[in-house]
Symmetry: C2
Subunit: 93 residues, 2 copies
């Protein structure tokens, strides 16, 4: 988790995903499923492969969850797990 968040771009992605509606073209109905990779990539300015990898790292750290629908993969925050991690953080440190 610390490794995942030690990168500014990945931290930024996690913050952006708090407001899925701030991505262009997002419909209210999409909020629950998340934001697709290309939208995140466009906003981050990183390459496509880098964006995909970073989201995979965030997923492995349990910070986001991915949902594949058709050709798109949507990412959204794993709020429950994030809350749990923050709580553990407060206990340990």
């Amino acid at each position: 988790m610390f490794r995942a968040l030690s990168n500014p771009a990945r931290r930024q992605m996690l913050v952006w995903l708090k407001e899925p509606m701030c991505f262009p073209g997002q419909e209210p109905a999409d909020v629950e499923i998340g934001v697709c990779v290309s939208d995140i990539q466009r906003r981050s300015g990183l390459g496509q492969s880098t964006t995909s990898q970073y989201l995979a790292i965030l997923r492995q750290a349990g910070l986001v969850v991915a949902t594949r629908r058709g050709k798109w993969t949507y990412y959204r925050r794993d709020e429950a797990n994030i809350a749990r991690l923050l709580e553990t953080l407060g206990d340990v440190f």
Copy 2:
């Protein structure tokens, strides 16, 4: 801060410093000033230079404070700042 905590040895040091009395030879009077580098080094098993560098990184991240007394440098947690950082963390993520 995330970079500082992305290393297991540095996280361990921060946790150890929660209980300064657990270091051999610590007197109750020493608790306030902290633990000296050699004690932390012995416990971590890392080299002297590595230990010194890691403590410097923790200090730059605002997680510990250093007090020089004679030839010794004592490190202790910056509890106020740690609490502030954890709070900010909860706000941002």
